[in-house]
Subunit: 250 residues, 2 copies
């Protein structure tokens, strides 16, 4: 295993778990303890992580590279399952909308060789989409430099000329009264419109998003179907009158 490969792996594991022992890394990379120690020293010098006794932890002032890894793979396994399930819902001939977000990104590899058309507002999804030869329309709009998503009135206008069979959206908060919410009002407006343009809407959200509320309301619970991973029975009970929840079993 080459050095940069190992370093990438270390950062990745760290992104999932926030803290990691040397032993775990030894197993994950199939290299020796000495090598891992050396790697950690170096990565620490590069400010990519902080060494702690017995392993390493995320540095809290996140360099942009780190934050990317960090976000992209927190709860990666759950998100992967959710994404897989969502893809099974897509049928040949469908026109679907893919929202920006890490979970929807994970859907793309599973969509290869399907006769579908994808519309998205996520510039970050384009590489994966073109790699898997999926016919893709990007909506227009203002480029939000931080998240590389398209927003604003021109995005709304651009989006509104499409109609979808299914839309798949990430979401930050799912709450009994507040409904679906997300931090950015502009992104919320885009999500909201996407839902109303589609026959069916699916919210991809791991269990951490329940009972949370964020700043901007996207839609009522009744407007979309939630796809999530393991979840308490009483949560299901609470929500079941308001919306449909599909739980992805491991």
């Amino acid at each position: 295993m080459l050095t940069p490969e190992r370093h990438r792996k270390i950062i990745e594991v760290l992104g999932e778990k926030s803290v990691v022992t040397i032993q775990e890394l030894v197993e994950a990379t199939a290299s020796s303890e000495s090598t891992i120690r050396r790697d950690l020293s170096q990565l620490q010098k590069e400010k990519k992580l902080k060494r702690v006794h017995g392993g390493a932890s995320l540095t809290h002032q996140k360099s942009e590279e780190l934050s990317l890894f960090e976000k992209s793979d927190r709860n990666a396994v759950e998100k992967q399952r959710i994404a897989q399930y969502a893809c099974d819902l897509v049928e040949n001939g469908d026109c679907i909308y893919l929202d920006a977000g890490t979970t929807t990104l994970k859907m793309i590899p599973h969509l290869k060789d399907r006769e579908i058309t994808v519309v998205t507002n996520a510039i970050s999804h384009l590489d994966a989409l073109s790699e898997h030869e999926i016919k893709t329309y990007l909506i227009g709009g203002l480029v939000k430099s931080k998240t590389k998503a398209l927003v604003g009135s021109s995005a709304i206008k651009s989006l509104s000329s499409y109609r979808f069979d299914k839309v798949f959206l990430g979401m930050n908060g799912i709450h009994m009264e507040a409904g679906f919410t997300t931090p950015d009002p502009e992104e919320a407006a885009v999500k909201s419109l996407a839902i109303s343009l589609s026959q069916k809407a699916f919210i991809l959200a791991d269990h951490t998003k329940f009972h949370e509320t964020s700043f901007s309301k996207v839609a009522d619970l009744s407007e979309a179907i939630i796809i999530t991973n393991e979840i308490d029975d009483d949560v299901i009970y609470d929500f079941q009158d308001k919306t449909e929840i599909r739980v992805v079993t491991p």
Copy 2:
């Protein structure tokens, strides 16, 4: 296997995998270890990749270079000058359209800290634009997977809701009778519309583009001002009744 072919292959493999061992490249190209080592050294000098012990890894600013790999540096110096000149035409408060292409890409660093708004159809320009903190709107449309440009009827529709002070376009052919031409009809349609939506249109083209014609007509010579580098006097004389040519002096 020829050298440029091998280099292309190496970059290609690297694009897929991010890291690659020398052994893998030896197999992929059916050449010897020595040759691969030489290739890697050279490609590293060209900043196309980073050598690591045992192989090579992507240089961190990969995306921009990768797709434009072959074209990227032909007549780079001339294009740089042309781009610089074009930027001097931009005034504070302008709304400008930047076409996809290597020359327009080189304009972006010079636009930093100007109070302007950029509209573009070039996904490949976005990284540079956001890096230099330029307010950017992307038009919508079908993603042309090869060039990562936005085309098609939805791109036309999306573009037509903007108006520009100035547009800057690359062009493949400039010809007395045929006017401005470019290979792809869909891209031609976008370019053509951009010109008609703007107060002033500028074509950025080095001297090799004169007297050439390509498949699709974009506009008549009279519809735009040409910015080019050194050029024969008689060419200027030939064209001067039809259009305005500004020659960038070294």
